[in-house]
């Protein structure tokens, strides 16, 4: 180190804060972060290798368990990939059911994010309310698919379970209630003067940054990059329903929150249109697939966090010979280099949260002084600093 006064803050290595464990070093000059370094590969679960030992149909259950929150996005992309090899299309009813499940998941994932963002800013009421509203969506999942998470709905060639007409009225009722609550939550976030001061201009990513890092999903859309797999490479029922891609221009954490909140309204509208299309009708929900020929295919799905990509190669046998998975957080996380640089340590927690990584087992972040290796801050302290900053803004000490 040239400058001995610099402080290195390691976050990780078993990354507690993020979906895929990785290691961050925050180089700090006083309160300001001057550089971020990133390492990945700590939570290698060998899923790609394991999938080579499973039957085509069994892999859907395996990839479903890559992510605990967006658990349907991986089977979605995997099924798209295998159907690309097969060259088949799924029945129309299955397309609608797939989209319904995908969009319900987007609502619950975005609400989860809003809640956590509130938690990190010290707005625990937002956390409680957002998670309370999310709970009704999870109950709907239990009613339709039989499980609150890990729905096991996807199958190569279609879906495993049908959405029965008897379930549709209660789903519509929940969506109606949900819309009112989302309206309240969105307005509360958009109008709040404290949140505006706290989040506007924090962790800004320009269009240039997005292109350089290849960021996807709400992170890219918040910076005005109009990239959405559902629109750009249509699949399932997305070309059959009317919806629009939400983009904003500023690229800060506030805009990321706005994009996510507004996307939930689009999701509600997509689900409504899909329900209209399947209600009262009968139809095939799957094409029988007997064997997968040799070949290779790619599948993409716009997961709540961005584009989820699967590549599958087959040699005509019972299981894939190569299965490559790229989850959206993998490309979004390096943007920290651009977004954290120049920010204060108290903003780091919310900037890291801004790309919506998975917060499974926190309390593992520690801040060390580079000189004597003394522990300065842990993740609880970082969150505490973030909350204190919000409090100071509320009291009017800061602008």
């Amino acid at each position: 180190m040239k400058n001995k006064k610099r402080v290195i803050i390691p976050i990780g290595p078993y990354h507690p804060l993020l979906e895929e464990p990785e290691f961050f070093s925050l180089y700090c000059d006083g309160e300001t972060v001057v550089d971020v370094e990133w390492e990945a590969g700590y939570n290698h679960r060998a899923i790609e290798k394991l999938s080579e030992s499973k039957h085509w149909d069994q892999v859907t259950f395996l990839v479903e368990r890559i992510c605990g929150i967006c658990s349907t996005s991986h089977p979605f992309a995997y099924c798209n990939a295998v159907e690309d090899i097969l060259g088949i299309t799924v029945p129309e009813r299955a397309k609608y059911i797939r989209s319904i499940i995908g969009e319900m998941e987007r609502i619950h994932s975005h609400l989860l994010w809003v809640g956590l963002a509130g938690h990190f800013l010290g707005y625990n009421t937002v956390f409680m309310w957002a998670w309370k509203y999310r709970e009704t969506i999870l109950d709907m999942f239990e009613m339709i698919t039989g499980n609150r998470n890990h729905y096991a709905m996807f199958r190569i060639g279609g879906v495993r379970r049908d959405i029965e007409d008897g379930d549709i009225p209660s789903l519509r009722k929940v969506l109606g209630e949900m819309e009112g609550k989302l309206e309240m939550l969105t307005r509360a976030v958009l109008d709040d003067p404290v949140l505006a001061v706290r989040l506007k201009g924090v962790g800004v990513l320009t269009r240039r940054d997005i292109k350089d890092f290849g960021a996807v999903g709400p992170v890219a859309r918040a910076s005005g990059v109009d990239f959405d797999v559902r629109k750009d490479d249509p699949y399932a029922a997305y070309p059959l329903v009317k919806w629009k891609v939400i983009t904003t221009g500023n690229g800060d954490v506030f805009d990321k929150a706005v994009v996510r909140l507004l996307e939930t309204f689009e999701s509600v509208s997509i689900i409504r249109q899909c329900l209209d299309a399947i209600e009262g009708k009968k139809g095939e929900i799957e094409n029988q697939v007997r064997e997968v020929p040799a070949g290779q295919g790619i599948g993409r799905h716009e997961a709540p966090r961005g584009e989820c990509f699967h590549y599958v190669r087959s040699d005509g046998a019972n299981s894939p010979v190569r299965h490559k998975i790229r989850a959206p957080s993998y490309v979004n996380i390096p943007t920290f280099k651009a977004s954290c640089t120049g920010q204060t340590i108290s903003d780091v927690a919310i900037i890291l949260a801004g790309v919506d990584p998975c917060y499974c087992c926190t309390e593992r972040v520690a801040v060390y002084d580079a000189g004597n290796k003394k522990k300065l801050y842990g993740f609880p302290e970082l969150v505490e600093m973030s909350r204190k900053k919000t409090e100071r803004i509320i009291k009017g000490e800061m602008k």
Binding site: E142, M143, G146, N147
Partner: protein, 205 residues
């Protein structure tokens, strides 16, 4: 500025005067949804012991153990809830349709794993000659019923079928040490039957 606060205040008051959103789960029983995928359970009457559930399980949560002791065979199918994904593939692929069904039981925390394991035992039909497993008795009976008269094309099924319609004498099948032509129609495993054919064609093994 004031209006948003009023809106949030309304929601806060509504939350304050309504009953808590959380449930008092251990005190009041939780009722899962109708389609809830809980612990799979075997049905004593309809499970035939074919082992299809064991083969399709993505997480290998079902064990199939064939025990042969003193000339008697037992097939034990054990479901381990600790490995189970509750995906419902066993139910979907069950050859009889309801040999194994996902129940709505969700409370499967345990001190001793055997408390929550579900197991079912089946009698096995063994080769009278070499003692190898032919299949579960119930499974063969199920196949016989499914095939109807076509069952006469399969020697093992013939022997069971003729016994049922009282064509067979009911006498114990006798075996000499070596396999010979008469063994073809007895209760033998495919390997032994092939040997019997070969010895019949060539006159020797």
């Amino acid at each position: 500025m004031k209006k948003p606060k009023i809106r949030e205040l309304c929601e806060a008051l509504r939350s304050f005067f309504s009953r808590p959103f959380t449930t008092t789960f251990p005190l009041t029983a939780h009722e899962p949804a109708k389609k809830f995928r809980g612990k799979p359970e075997y049905n004593e009457d309809t499970c035939v012991g074919c082992g299809a559930c064991f083969q399709v399980c993505p997480s290998k949560a079902i064990d199939m153990v064939d025990e042969i002791k003193d000339g008697l065979g037992r097939r034990i199918l054990i479901h381990h809830p600790k490995d189970c994904l509750f995906c419902g593939e066993c139910e979907r692929n069950c050859i009889t349709g309801d040999g194994i069904k996902l129940s709505r039981i969700f409370d499967i925390a345990y001190f001793d794993e055997k408390d929550v394991q579900d197991r079912i035992e089946h009698e096995l039909l063994l080769c009278k000659h070499c003692g190898q497993v032919i299949g579960a008795v119930k499974h063969l009976t199920w196949i016989r019923k499914k095939l109807g008269n076509l069952a006469f094309s399969q020697p093992v099924l013939i022997s069971r079928f003729t016994g049922e319609i009282r064509l067979a004498t009911g006498a114990e099948e006798s075996f000499s040490g070596e396999t010979d032509r008469t063994d073809i129609l007895k209760t033998v495993c495919p390997g032994c039957r092939r040997l019997a054919f070969i010895s019949d064609e060539g006159g020797e093994r």
